[in-house]
Amino acid sequence: MTSPIYLDYAASTPVDPRVAVRMQECLSSFELQGNPSSLSHRFGRAAREVIENARVQVANAVGAKPMEIIWTSGATESNNLALSGAVRYYADRGNHVISSKTEHKAVLEPLKKLEKQGFKVTYLKPDQNGIVHVDQVREAMTPETTLVSLMHVNNEIGVIQDIGAIGALCRKHNVLLHVDAAQSAGRLPIDVHAMNIDLLSCTAHKIYGPKGIGALYVRRNPVVGLEPLIIGGGQELGLRAGTLPTHQIVGFGVAMELALDDRDNDGARISHLRDKLWSGLKSIPQVELNGHQSLRVPNILNVAFYGVEGESLLFALQELILSAGAACSTGSDEASYVLRALGRSDQQAQSSLRFSLGRFTTEQDIDVAIHAVSREVSRLRLLAADVP
């Protein structure tokens, strides 16, 4: 059997060979094996230098200053640090947070924990296309609101929120804005200052970098206060203790730089492939696109195939590697809470698959995918006939 076609880039991207080469160089160089905090010797300073270079690369991608980038283990840790850190730091100002029902679990779970600690959280319901409107945020604000946390791009359906408008509102009301940009950093233009973002989470493994490394942008002017989650040796301005993983950080920096260099070409090429895929899939009877038709990233397509059980379709598509939804929810046979929040029934949500394309997807891959999905949807519908 030939290798299956990978269409799960939104879950994780393969490491770009150019990133792997730079990481390997780091791991092979004795000089770069020093502790980046050991600035008293040459090896430590050499490691620190490549780390600071990567910090510039990541900062450039979001319009931040290098000193505003804090290294973490990934977007999940960044989200935890941003939410728990800021909400607890500003607890004397107020105890209310605004977020949405379609956030990633890495935001929803820390918020649940904060609720148990006595904080109040309003979860906005997006419209049927997955969009949270600025008016909803305005109406939810109270004098007690200290933080708004919204994702830039939804990981299941790919819709893009109007972060610029929400940022302007937050700034006007002196409320902090945290943005989970795991799916957008490196893919969409982001300017944290122009968009009035105070905290922004991103990760390497969604942009062809290694797993296990991420970053949190923390605004410095005026400074945003955070209570650290991990304390110890005082690294990262005391906000995140722990010896910095030089090769991971270098990989993240290179991946981000490549993402920026290739963004326009990659975006246009992947948009074309996504449109071709949708054009093929929508010729199958009874299919529907989940999420907004146009406010979406090029690489994610979430489609409901009515009358087909999702797990069976996923398994029947032996030629394809893809997901029914967020990888983090795998193991649960509950319908996607994101699709449920858009008003889809359990059965509609269970009939949906997420196709996520990437840098290494080809025209031929899309042809194979359309053919395989058409074949298996027909087969499974025939198998189910008209059972109620």
């Binding site: 046979d333 359990d346 189910a384 059972v387």
Partner: protein
């Protein structure tokens, strides 16, 4: 690896017995109504699994079994295997069928037990139909 992770993986790790039957079922399809065809339904799409089972009888034996079903790969493979088992059996043997033998043969995880119970429901229901008189409309048509 922890027990929990193994359980999660097993939910998506289909045995070769499941793969074969799910990808290439020989008993999928409907049967037209006739005096010697008995049928029953169990489950619902809303609950994630639904099956209609058809048994063609000759005297007291099943000569052919067919199903149409909506559900996960484990459920569809189990429906296929149930049909395989039914063919050649007598009606009284059908009443003795239980889901446990099928669970071990197909290596179906315990989290899917509810779906297997639907198969027990459908076979009990179809056996009950053999004790009922054939509906007049069907009797006339045949």
């Amino acid at each position: 690896m922890s027990v929990m992770i193994n359980e999660i993986i097993s939910q998506f790790d289909y045995s070769s017995a499941v793969m074969t039957r799910f990808l290439n079922p020989h008993h999928a399809g409907e049967m037209g109504s006739s005096t010697n065809v008995r049928t029953a339904h169990a489950g619902s799409r809303e609950r994630g699994a639904s099956i209609r089972l058809y048994l063609q009888l000759k005297d007291i034996r099943v000569v052919q079994a067919r199903f149409v079903a909506y559900g996960c790969p484990h459920f569809l493979a189990a429906a296929e295997m149930l049909c395989e088992w039914c063919e050649g059996r007598s009606i009284s043997e059908l009443s003795q069928w239980n889901w446990q033998s099928l669970q071990s043969a197909l290596e179906i995880p315990s989290t899917k037990r509810g779906k297997l119970l639907l198969l027990e429901d459908v076979i009990r229901k179809v056996v009950r139909t053999t004790m009922e008189p054939v509906p007049a409309a069907v009797a006339t048509k045949s």
